[in-house]
């Protein structure tokens, strides 16, 4: 369904180009936090996945075959904002590297196959999820419905664009009926594949399905005294602290290591790891929205309990420092270094 050059007139092409640019801009802004956390590699690999799956054709009937558009699937798996970016990148690669879809029709193609399918897919999926029972399995029929509707609605949008910028007068009702009818068939294939793919993902890694994040069960945490508490797993947990703080932190540690005190520096990470393990946050981070990266639980133990972490790491640091400090105190040349270390201790913890 890649629209070629010249199919729509210049004003329509430019208008859809502006629309696509706007949608991508908004998506970039809204996906910014996710992408900062998970990195562009993840979105890039999702795009590679959509691209690879699009190469698999399925029979539609009458000897023709369709292939997955993937908009609804991407929206359910990685969310609408990242989904729009993923589809945009797929279409950019197809248009610029494979001559699939015209250069001037790039905006039209991104609007139709990137934005419309993702938005329709996601909105329908979420709407269906509010009706269906609150189970993670509900995401499969919901996304299938979204996929089923996303293809004919994209075709309907195409008809609308043709009405605005098409070169020939053809009966629009007939065109719309043909386009929607034909793409409903493709939509069924899209729905079947989307449901099966999502079913497989839900079976193995339900935490990866963006559209069902809010359906995950609360985590039950049990502490040493046997008290239990529940934690919502979908509470946004930034895996990486804002750049400023982690930078100054890294700077402090780097300075310590780089300086004369590299001998004692090992006291710091030990304290941090100890705190992280003691507070047992690894478990919650593993099932969190940002998935189980070691970085995630590192971040949680830090942010959630800064004071406690600071105190414990501080005490440890001081103890170790005193021990080692006594040993090295004999060497009078290190007195200056000792003072520098005591000064940097609060900020280091």
């Amino acid at each position: 369904m890649h629209v070629p050059d010249g199919f729509l007139d210049v004003p329509t092409s430019i208008a859809t180009g502006a629309l696509a640019a706007g949608a991508v801009g908004v998506s970039l802004q809204r996906a910014n936090r996710e992408i900062r956390e998970t990195g562009p590699a993840l979105a890039g690999l999702t795009a590679a996945f959509v691209f690879a799956v699009q190469m698999v054709n399925f029979p539609v009937g009458a000897g023709t075959s369709g292939h997955l558009l993937g908009g609804a699937l991407a929206a359910a798996l990685v969310g609408p904002w990242t989904g729009v970016l993923v589809m945009t990148v797929v279409l950019l690669v197809q248009g610029l590297l494979f001559a699939d879809g015209g250069l001037t029709a790039l905006g039209t193609n991104i609007t139709l196959m990137g934005v419309v399918t993702v938005v329709v897919g996601y909105v329908v999926t979420r709407a269906a999820l509010t009706v269906l029972p609150r189970r993670i399995g509900s995401v499969v029929p919901s996304a299938a419905t979204g996929a089923l509707l996303s293809v004919p609605l994209s075709a309907l949008a195409f008809t609308g664009l043709y009405a605005a910028g098409g070169s020939v007068d053809i009966p629009l009702g007939k065109l719309a009926a043909t386009m929607v009818g034909w793409h409903l068939l493709i939509g069924i294939g899209e729905a079947v594949i989307t449901a099966a793919v999502l079913g497989a993902v839900v079976a193995t890694r339900p935490d990866l399905v963006y559209a069902a994040r809010h359906l995950r069960q609360d985590l039950v945490l049990v502490d040493e005294q046997g008290r239990t508490s529940t934690v919502a797993p979908d509470r946004p947990v930034p895996a990486v602290r804002p750049a400023g703080r982690s930078l100054s932190y890294g700077l402090a540690i780097t300075l310590l290591i780089a300086g004369v005190l590299s001998l004692f520096a090992s006291a710091h990470p030990d304290g941090l790891e100890f705190v992280g393990e003691k507070l047992g946050f690894g478990g919650s981070a593993k099932d969190s929205a940002t998935a189980g990266s070691p970085f995630a639980d590192y971040g949680v133990s830090w942010i959630g309990n800064e004071q406690l972490a600071g105190a414990l790491a501080g005490i440890l640091g001081v103890l170790v420092t005193i021990g080692v400090g006594l040993a090295v105190a004999k060497l009078s040349s290190l007195r200056k270094a000792n003072r520098a270390e005591r000064e940097s201790e609060p900020s280091g913890a």
Partner: protein, 254 residues
């Protein structure tokens, strides 16, 4: 899709067109196609001029004609549409070879066919003379948002890996005697695709952690210094400027 997925349609010939910076080619060819699209469909001679111009560029780029022609198949669905137009369009009818056809539909079909073909030729010219890496640099130079460039670069880098995964899973499935029926195959393919997504996602996570471990701070280092010089732009923009001249002439002669 022909060729290696990571290479696109690239054909290495080392022609002057290949050496032109990617951002110049991107802007020039897009502007050229924009001129083509803006040309009235009835100015038949103009499309002849465009076609000759593109053929000249393809010759300069030393591209094998077979490769270029093979790529034209991507517009087949729209060729069908263009061929149907004379029969479904409304408006006055004229007799062609004893068959009543819509005059507007005939011109409209020609319009779609001519502009679409010229557009695909221009896109083939771009993709066959530019490596994915150069294209990324070009897009970066044209101020495409850095995040999008980064996602794009990862996609290009990993699309062959993911396609390879898909291929291996298919071979593994078939060598284990996967159901051959249509529905069974669909289910097997879809389940495999689900597993492929989990694999791709987890690979993305690993790549990101590896990047963080190597000091990634949120922006990629510059891909290289491939700024276009004034003479690059001057040479590149002759094509769309000539096309613009043809477009204006065609519009006035109407």
């Amino acid at each position: 899709v022909t060729g290696h997925p990571a290479e696109g349609l690239y054909v290495s010939t080392g022609s002057p067109l290949h050496r032109l910076p990617a951002q110049v080619k991107l802007v020039a060819l897009t502007a050229f196609v924009l001129c083509v699209v803006a040309t009235p469909a009835t100015a038949f001679w103009a499309f002849g001029v465009y076609a000759v111009g593109l053929a000249g560029l393809i010759t300069i780029a030393k591209l094998p004609p077979a490769t270029v022609l093979r790529r034209l198949t991507v517009e087949l669905p729209f060729v069908v549409f263009a061929l149907l137009l004379p029969f479904v369009a409304t408006g006055p009818r004229i007799e062609v070879l004893g068959v009543a056809m819509s005059e507007g539909g005939l011109i409209g079909g020609w319009n779609v066919l001519a502009k679409g073909t010229l557009g695909v030729l221009a896109a083939v010219l771009l993709s066959a003379s530019t490596t994915p890496r150069e294209l990324l640099t070009g897009l970066e130079r044209l101020r495409l948002p850095a995040v999008l460039v980064a996602i794009l670069s990862f996609m290009i880098r990993y699309v062959s890996v993911v396609s390879g995964d898909l291929q291996r899973m298919r071979i593994a499935r078939e060598s284990r005697g996967a159901p051959a029926g249509r529905t069974g195959q669909l289910r097997a393919v879809a389940t495999g695709a689900g597993a492929l997504f989990v694999r791709s996602y987890e690979r993305g996570e690993r790549v990101h952690l590896a990047m963080l471990a190597r000091g990634y701070t949120g922006t990629m280092p510059a891909l290289g210094h491939t700024g276009a010089t004034g003479s690059d732009w001057a040479r590149g923009m002759t094509v769309p400027l000539a096309a613009l001249l043809v477009t204006i002439t065609a519009r006035f002669l109407r």
